[in-house]
Symmetry: C2
Subunit: 146 residues, 2 copies
């Protein structure tokens, strides 16, 4: 049993990470397991630096380059999803099911919006030679009254 998966819950997460990585054709190395276990522990949005900090705090020995390269690998294989909500940095979403987002610009908070909460009664046809690959919807929020 690995040191980082000491509790039953952590073992569950680790097992699920490994299964999903293999399903995505990703070899589950030690570092990739650590990174996946942080991000896939629950539905959440984390930056590369947040993930690196979390790994360091838990004593894991993972380099910055590996974190970035691994997150790019995960995103390209569909294990996670990369978001562009602000220009400052990339956010990685552990929820790859189709969904949208609320974005509180003041706090930076991102909140998932399930697909059934949004209905389009009209959408433009894609330009000739193209088809819709996906829809990124971000509902920007401000504090009431401001």
């Amino acid at each position: 049993m690995d040191a980082f998966a000491s509790s039953l819950q952590e073992q569950d997460i680790a097992a699920r990470c490994q299964r999903r990585m293999v399903d995505c054709g990703i070899r589950p190395t030690a570092q990739r397991m650590r990174i996946a276990s942080v991000l896939l522990a629950e539905p959440q949005h984390l930056s590369a630096e947040q993930i690196l900090a979390s790994l360091r705090q838990s004593g894991a020995r993972v380099s910055k380059a590996t974190v970035y390269n691994t997150l790019n690998l995960f995103a390209s294989r569909g294990l996670i999803r990369q978001l562009s909500v602000d220009g400052a940095r990339a956010w990685f979403d552990s929820n790859v099911d189709a969904h949208y987002h609320f974005h509180d610009v003041a706090t930076g908070a991102l909140i998932d919006v399930p697909v059934p909460e949004v209905e389009f009664s009209r959408l433009p046809p894609p330009p000739p030679g193209t088809e819709v690959d996906g829809i990124d919807l971000v509902i920007r929020l401000r504090k009431t009254g401001s």
Copy 2:
């Protein structure tokens, strides 16, 4: 008459830029006029570096810092709109009227989608204490068949 506004059309653009800057409470300095004239010449999406290159090519003497600072000023005053479609860099949209975008991920092309082309028959209520500040909708496109 300024060298950069030699044609009648350029004078029109310059006059419109000046009017809009004053309306937004922005003092129309020489550099700001040059930057606004590039971006506001037509509805378009440009990066800071593209604007800088365009200015340099037309012989304007504007520093990189001023381009970035001015674009941020314009965006904060509502003269232009900053877009986050890819993580790589910020895009500045000369069209501040509400609208959405197609985004061809392969080519990077951004195409405006007018508001009437999209209808929402259902939207989630904003979380308590917040209200909707705006809706960013990006319809990602891929080449047909790929």
